[in-house]
Subunit: 190 residues, 2 copies
């Protein structure tokens, strides 16, 4: 990806994190990135193209963070824990990505254009977690009778639900993380 | 509550279900209800007052649905199941309420004014579920070592996460319901 396109997407993540997808105007993203509006149309055609590319970029960024754990000698169970709990980690980066994710999900209720991409992104995420659960069943860190796919769908939905409470100020990040850690235990057995 | 105020709130729920909180204009609600805009200002002062009252009304409506199960001779566990699975039931009524809930939660990220009410509503919901879990522990339908409060917070967050996927077209309602039913089993023991 060109540095310039990437810089525009980082600017879009920041604008969405501050104002939401529905408050997003291309002029703000251009101002945030310090470029002319025409450059945004050049790279993304229109506002919808920008929103879709931003979701994709935020997800890739999140996947890179998740994959960075791969080098370590983790059991399948530890990989599940690290990856899911990381979604509620501290740092602006995590928060911004989470806001973008929640925003696109909430906007997809009213904008059918956003749905297929959100569906694919959610499926990819669930599959990554299901694969780590399957590894855990293989290495003995997770009981063999766990249904990896259903369990992954539930745990990622739980992350979504807890994240939205955290971001909305309904619960603290620490409480959300503690609930998630215990929830992983309920799902994967102890 | 006056019939007129109630009719305005029902109209607001319909408008939010179609367009979202952030797309809501008082003129649309007035048109939906077939009244003058001034009547909305008379009852709710301003747009924010209308949004807050609509959330409250949607939650009361949902609580009435949940409480309607109380008459039956249900175990605590059955009450938890009926109440939570009802949040993913069919019928426009359930869907509309769920959209309003998700919208206010998502909007609260950017509108601090909405947070305290959303927090209270979420706490009330969790407490209702925790009370049903405690009843289930009392009547033997739920194991005694379950932490009612944490469990209730997780299950309601799971409902939120699954609802948003359903409403965004990421998963089907039936799949979301099946995942939730199995998730209740993981949380409450089988």
């Amino acid at each position: 990806m060109s540095d310039r396109r990437s810089a525009l997407l980082e600017a879009a993540i920041k604008v969405i994190a501050r104002r939401g997808v529905r408050g997003l105007r291309v002029e703000q993203v251009a101002a945030e990135a310090g470029v002319a509006v025409s450059l945004i149309y050049y790279y993304f055609d229109n506002r919808n193209g920008l929103v879709r590319a931003t979701l994709e970029h935020a997800n890739e960024r999140a996947a890179t963070v998740a994959a960075s754990a791969d080098g370590a000698a983790l059991s399948g169970r530890q990989a599940v824990e690290r990856s899911l709990l990381g979604e509620l980690g501290d740092g602006d980066h995590v928060r911004d990505t989470s806001v973008v994710w929640g925003e696109v999900l909430a906007s997809a209720v009213f904008e059918p254009d956003l749905r297929s991409q959100q569906r694919e992104a959610t499926e990819t995420w669930s599959e990554l977690i299901a694969a780590a659960i399957a590894e855990g069943i293989g290495d003995g860190s997770i009981p063999a009778d766990i249904e990896a796919q259903a369990c992954a769908e539930r745990l990622t939905a739980l992350v979504d639900g807890l994240s939205s409470r955290w971001l909305a100020g309904v619960t603290t990040r620490e409480r959300a993380q503690a609930l998630l850690a215990a929830g992983i235990g309920r799902e994967l057995g102890t």
